[in-house]
Amino acid sequence: MKNTDIRVRMVALLITSVGVLIIKSEYAVYLSLLVVTIWTGFILGFKKVVPQIVLFVTLEIALFFIKDVRAVGNLPLLLVYLRRLIIAVIAAYPVAKAPTGKLIASLDKLKVPRTFTISLAVLLRFLPTVGMEYSAIRRAQRYREIGTSLRTAITRLPQLFEYTIVPLLIRTTKVADELTASAEVRGMKLKGDYNPYYEVKMRTSDWFLLAALILCATGICYVEYICGGVM
């Protein structure tokens, strides 16, 4: 399962994203959660899904307690959609966790323009960097008593924002500059030939998985139908 074609993973993500938006029946929601958990669990290992499942269950419990409380206004509705978003996040994992090279090779095979695939590669490379830079800045701030207590963080919010955003911008601009230079000398260009290292090819097992996915999606649609949902 670890070698499942990235395009099949993308199809699963696409179906899930559309599905969680349009289904109405709660049974179909639970069934979708079950299917995506098994799907992602088999590809990446079930450990990866645990935090999302815990979050889903927590929201479910919260919803149970506050659904009839008037004082919270529209909060239950927000939680309902947040819960559905978690299902899409679980389905996104197998795509996001694929090696960038494989992901780009798959998109290339799907004839996605190089402008988009390079931007995506940069974005995926940059996200963990921004995270690391941010935590390094926050660490340094502690020694200067910047935003160390909740009270000062709130009373001096604009200052905290400035003291975080300025170094973050300086650092990320520098990293972006050096990263581009490093890509340019290695022949990265928008136009011209490019041959991905990873061979993108649907194997028999991928076709089976795709068929299983479609079958599951159809099953969920049927549940939605008999439970009187939107279908």
Partner: protein, 477 residues
């Protein structure tokens, strides 16, 4: 292989601005290993950028002279006239990249991919190599430097030595004739530096022409055929292998460089103030996941004492310091400051941690504001002026700290640390990427701080620096 004739370059198009490189003429034969050195800001990095074409194709500027690579003209201008980059620059960055592979200084910003295999094959994918050829090249690179174990791994989880190996493998992937490296040893521990030397030896035997810009040159001693010393954008001196190997420590120090001779064993100085330790780390245990990082670890530190904390990367030096500063909570044992056990959350009040990269630690628009930030002091007080004078920063007091040089930024943070009056000061690799002169300057400043009674802990691999500054070495295993 490489020929530069009267090359001059300056960043930007401002006519009044000084040239960053002036009148550089240089011939490097095929298979030679040449090390370029000099004080920070002397133009070493700019020279490597001219060689790989990033100057002026990516970092824009004015360039003149002539550059011939592998017998082909890259650019050539008449009698010092600046060239028109669109018209007269004959090769593309891509063409130069096929002949010259690059290893940049900062591992955080040179890797385009997160996965190691993606990174190594990237240049080949972009040059439309066939899959068979890419696999062949991976096999050849593995035979040369043993990278098989490193393939298909998360780059950010590798040790610094392994990262460097991947960077060199990626640079060699398209089989260039020249390798250009910018301070490849800056982030390596002793073991990593030894591995780098062995790898460079192999690359040299394979016929690669190697140009290395570097401060720490001890490891290149029997490897480099020539040493080029630069100053203020010009080549000051060129030493052949036989000559530079004979340079004495005094001659190197005079040129503002690091010494070339074998660094002698460290001898503790016994220097400290008082007999009772200011900081005691008692029987500490720290585990991250299943990995035991510190077990039954104990140590004492005194006022006015500078302790160098050494050991291979990943041995727990930074973890120990972060526990001392209260950023991490030990699972067992205690940390006592002035004889009193202090809980993790409160230890930060007594400690100041100066990280490796100054850019993270600068927050305000002026040096004066920076050093007095969240203290009871304001910029007019005598104490502030004294400290800024001691750190040679008074004339820059109204400047934005981000506009200062790397060494000056580091001094701003040290001045801020001193004005906060914390009894414990921790520094993480303060001399990484520093030339000899600035390394000695930092050592002097630290001694100045220690005299005041501050207890200083320095995480470092820099043996030359340790011998100058430390009173005690804590070697972690």
């Amino acid at each position: 292989m490489i020929e530069l004739k009267n090359v001059s370059f300056k960043y930007g198009s401002d006519k009044k601005r000084d040239y960053n490189l002036s009148d550089i003429s240089l011939r490097i034969k095929a298979g030679e290993c040449v090390v370029v050195t000099g004080e920070s800001g002397c133009g070493k990095t700019t020279l490597t950028r001219v060689l790989n074409g990033l100057c002026p194709n990516y970092f824009e500027g004015t360039i003149s002279g002539a550059y011939i690579l592998n017998g082909e003209t890259v650019f050539s201008s008449d009698e010092g006239k600046p060239i028109d980059i669109d018209e007269d620059y004959e090769k593309s960055l891509d063409d130069i990249g096929m002949l010259a592979g690059n290893v940049f200084q900062d591992p955080r910003s040179q890797f385009f991919s997160i996965n190691t295999t993606d990174e190594i094959v990237l240049a080949m994918e972009n040059r439309n190599f066939t899959r068979e050829r890419m696999n062949e090249r991976l096999k050849e690179i593995d035979d040369l430097m043993g990278i098989e174990k490193l393939l298909d791994k998360n780059l950010f989880k590798l040790s610094s030595g392994e990262k460097q190996k991947v960077a060199i493998a990626a640079a060699c992937s398209v089989e260039p004739k020249v390798l250009i490296m910018d301070e490849p040893s800056a982030n390596l521990d002793t073991e990593g530096t030894v591995q780098l030397r062995e790898l460079l030896k192999k690359l040299k035997t394979k016929g690669y022409t190697i140009v290395i810009s570097e401060h720490r040159m001890g490891y290149l001693k029997e490897l480099a055929d020539r040493m080029i010393v630069m100053r203020a954008g010009r080549i000051e001196k060129i030493f052949e292998a036989g000559d530079y190997n004979r340079l004495s420590d005094d001659e190197m120090i005079k040129m503002g460089l690091r010494v070339l001779s074998e660094i002698p064993e460290f001898v503790p100085t016994g220097r400290k103030i008082g007999d009772s330790p200011v900081l005691i780390v008692d029987n500490i245990r720290f585990k991250r996941g299943k990995k035991e990082i510190l077990n039954s670890f104990s140590a004492s530190f005194y006022r006015g004492e500078i302790t160098a904390i050494t050991g291979e990367n990943g041995v727990g030096k930074t973890t120990l310091c972060r526990i001392i500063a209260g950023e991490l909570r030990q699972q067992k044992g205690s940390v006592r400051i002035f004889g009193e056990t202090i809980q993790a959350g409160k230890r930060i009040r007594d400690c100041f941690f100066v990280g490796q990269d100054a850019d993270y630690q600068i927050f305000t628009p002026t040096v004066l504001q920076e050093v007095t930030l969240n203290t009871d002091l304001d910029g007019d007080e005598k104490e502030v002026e004294d400290i800024l004078n001691r750190f040679d920063l008074w004339e820059y007091r109204r400047r934005h700290p981000a506009s200062l040089s790397g060494g000056q930024k580091q001094r701003v943070i040290l001045a801020a640390a001193l004005l906060r009056n914390n009894p414990i000061l921790i520094l993480d690799e303060p001399t990484s990427g520093l030339d000899g002169r600035h390394m000695r300057v930092i050592a002097e400043y630290l001694r100045n701080v220690a005299v005041n009674g501050t207890c200083i802990l320095v995480i470092t691999h820099d043996r030359e620096f340790i011998n100058i500054v430390a009173d005690k070495v804590l070697n972690m295993k």
